[in-house]
Symmetry: C2
DNA sequence: TTCGTTCATCGCCTATCGCCGATAGACGAT
DNA sequence: ATCGTCTATCGGCGATAGGCGATGAACGAA
């Protein structure tokens, strides 16, 4: 909820990292998935499929992208799969963007 | 700097809009461009080219993407072009992401 | 065992991205 | 008028994204 440490470095590597996280968020379906995951507790792939009107394989790939980006946690549970939003990671991304925006607007 | 109105709708159209803005930000070169634009006052295309080690046409396209997304203002000035960060629009994106993250973490 | 369900992965296809060089328009300077 | 500079845009290229159906593994139920 708060920017823990205001980074002044702003290197190119930083840009890459931030861009990668934002890329994972830059698709309507993935944002919808995040919303659904946070709203419901069950979080299995099938449920997201029913909610989203996309093929199961497509949803699975979107989920994988979110997991690879570190924004969603994955845990296999019997034949089901359990996906859960990583609130801390999500907050980090938001904080990174806020820091970028802040540094862009400070000298204005 | 503050979320003007906390939106509770969270519709799919909303997801599209947010995703589009984030997509414009999800490239290292464009983030670097934003940083450079905010750091310097001049903001002509050539300067960004010198700073970024990319072809002029490529930089021009990145700038166009940022302008189309509404994150950078464009104003032709003689034979130069003037690009300037739209701080308010950038703040809006940051606020939108923060709202999304907040809604995802509230029920936890 | 056999069937049904759930899921991740593979292969394929199309559309878009990201990059570049080339080009043409606009404009200041000579 | 001519030259040099700065831009935006076009066309082409390879790589990636995003979609789908099919498939096989895993597992519970009958």
């Amino acid at each position: 909820m708060n920017t823990p440490l205001i980074e002044k470095t702003c290197g190119v590597a930083d840009s890459r990292a931030v861009a990668a996280k934002l890329a994972a968020l830059s698709h309507p379906a993935r944002i919808e998935i995040l919303r659904h995951l946070s709203a419901s507790r069950s979080c299995c792939c099938r449920e997201v499929v029913d909610h989203l009107d996309l093929a199961q394989s497509t949803v699975s790939q979107h989920l994988k992208i979110l997991v690879d980006a570190g924004l969603v946690r994955y845990e296999p549970d019997r034949q089901r799969s359990r996906y859960q939003v990583d609130g801390d990671a999500l907050a980090d991304v938001s904080a990174s963007l806020a820091a970028l925006v802040n540094s862009c607007c400070s000298g204005r």
